[in-house]
């Protein structure tokens, strides 16, 4: 009650302004990068190169983006998130404008494949999420979800904007506009609003007052130090939750990347028109944006592992429908079940990592898990293509995905959240149980 009273006197908790600024950074960063595909055909004609050569720049960028995550994570853990997001956004804005001057595929590989993809790693959901988990404790789930929804909305709004600007003018103008919005609005917003830690402004997480933050029970732990927190990030991998979160996220990468790439091709193989497949994928994206927020809000009031496990199991059912149901029925069932189980895993995984391991090394740990996610996705995209070429359908690939998702669901549910999360136990209580655990493991 005291907290709410103070909020009404001083206005909304400052952490929500930070969520808003980072939401916009994700909106611009992800939306513009997703617009890459708009210009491919024009570049093919103007530069006289194959789509394969242009695709190399995109694929290199995708892998570099994954590799950048632990790099940025380490920096954020050492000096805070504010300089990382500001510098990343500035570099991205300059590089967006530089894209207007690209005249061959090599320049494209350098500016898009390396500079933009690497810099965008600094404002990824995991890296921006590191800032959010420092500002929020009880509302970590909903704050993370709002942040992640910025990426979804960016694709749905910014890509049509760039397309129409391209149609009205030329592709160079579209990139300059994206760069201008980034530099004129995005960077000042981050500069003026984002602070690495609430203590930089004399605040507490969630806007709590000093007396609100005093622990009265295990559930009132400060939330900034995790029960399984370690001094060295490497030591986090000596405990089970880190492996459980990394492996489930790897499966997440496999199953989302493969569908992003192969969904339309699967639909064609089932005799479904590309337009209908696109409509279903649009439904999936729209439901996903709503579901991310909903899951985030619910996750603040129950064990996050239950939702994470449910999401993977629901996704397993969605994949199973692609094998068992006939074409159109599979398409729409998958769109609905898929929309209910897509990006919500991002906010849940980042929040759980912070709940268990605290905020000290959460940048590095979040970066590593996202890198694993991206590598799993890269591998799956290629393997799904090979499977289709060899078997003439995706059934085997989908069935393997079902098994992996069931495994991920069980693994997520097996996280002993009540024993290792700062929402339920203090560091001292968890350390005691960890000693027992490692002792019994012979370590």
């Amino acid at each position: 009650m005291t907290t709410e009273h103070n909020h009404s006197e001083e206005g909304r908790f400052y952490g929500w302004y930070i969520v808003g600024a980072l939401f916009f950074a994700m909106f611009i960063g992800f939306g513009t990068r997703q617009g890459f595909g708009i210009f491919v055909e024009t570049w093919e004609i103007e530069w006289g190169v194959s789509v394969g050569a242009i695709s190399v720049a995109a694929s290199v960028g995708w892998l570099l983006n994954g590799l950048s995550q632990p790099f940025f994570g380490r920096i954020i853990d050492r000096i805070g998130g504010r300089p990382v997001v500001i510098v990343s956004m500035t570099v991205m804005g300059i590089a967006f404008i530089a894209m207007a001057f690209v005249s061959n595929v090599w320049m494209l590989a350098v500016i898009y494949g390396f500079v933009i993809s690497w810099a965008s790693g600094g404002i990824s959901p995991s890296m921006s999420g590191v800032l959010i988990v420092r500002w929020f404790r009880r509302k970590r789930g909903i704050a993370m979800s709002v942040l992640v929804s910025g990426a979804s909305l960016g694709g749905l709004v910014l890509v049509p904007f760039l397309t129409y600007l391209f149609l009205a003018t030329n592709w160079q103008t579209a990139w300059v506009a994206a760069g201008a919005i980034t530099l004129v609005l995005g960077v000042p917003l981050l500069w003026g609003i984002v602070r690495s830690d609430p203590s930089d402004m004399g605040l507490k997480p969630d806007g709590d007052q000093e007396q609100d933050n005093a622990p009265t029970s295990a559930n009132e732990h400060d939330g900034q130090t995790g029960p399984l927190e370690t001094t060295r990030w490497q030591d986090s991998f000596r405990s089970a939750p880190m492996w459980q979160l990394a492996i489930t996220y790897w499966v997440c990468g496999i199953t989302t990347a493969s569908i992003s790439v192969h969904f339309v091709r699967w639909a064609s193989s089932e005799g479904i028109t590309p337009g209908t497949a696109a409509l279903a994928f649009g439904l999936l994206s729209g439901l996903n944006a709503l579901n991310v927020i909903l899951v985030g809000a619910i996750s603040d009031h129950m064990q996050r592992k239950l939702l994470l496990g449910a999401i993977y199991l629901m996704r397993a059912v969605a994949f199973l429908t692609l094998v068992l149901l006939p074409g159109n029925a599979a398409l729409w069932t998958f769109a609905i079940l898929g929309g209910g189980s897509w990006l919500a895993s991002v906010s849940l995984t980042t929040s759980l990592t912070a709940d268990v391991y605290g905020v000290r090394n959460v940048g590095m740990l979040g970066g590593l898990t996202l890198m694993v996610h991206q590598f799993g996705g890269a591998l799956a995209v290629i393997l799904f293509g090979i499977a289709f070429d060899n078997f003439g359908n995706y059934d085997n690939a989908f069935l393997i995905s079902v098994l992996l998702l069931i495994g991920a669901g069980i693994l997520a549910l097996s996280i002993q959240e009540r024993s290792v999360s700062s929402r339920y136990v203090t560091t001292e209580e968890a350390t005691g149980s960890l000693k027992v655990e490692t002792g019994s493991a012979g370590g």
Partner: protein, 64 residues
């Protein structure tokens, strides 16, 4: 052989089929010139950061 083309459909670039569908829907719904739609979407995009920035400044003035 590495299927390069499929990377174009991945999370970086939006699926071109979905993009065409979104564009067709907007065309059917609004029926304006591309430049007019670009301006409308542009205004919608810049409105949020401007509102957020102003709110943040007002908050800072209220609580120096």
């Amino acid at each position: 052989m590495l299927p390069y083309r499929i990377f174009l459909h991945h999370s970086e670039p939006i699926d071109p089929t979905l993009l065409d569908w979104i564009r067709n829907q907007i065309d059917e719904l609004i029926g304006l010139e591309p430049s007019a739609i670009a301006v409308i979407l542009g205004i919608a995009i810049v409105a949020f950061p401007i509102w957020l920035g102003i709110s943040s400044i007002r908050r800072a003035r209220r609580n120096p």
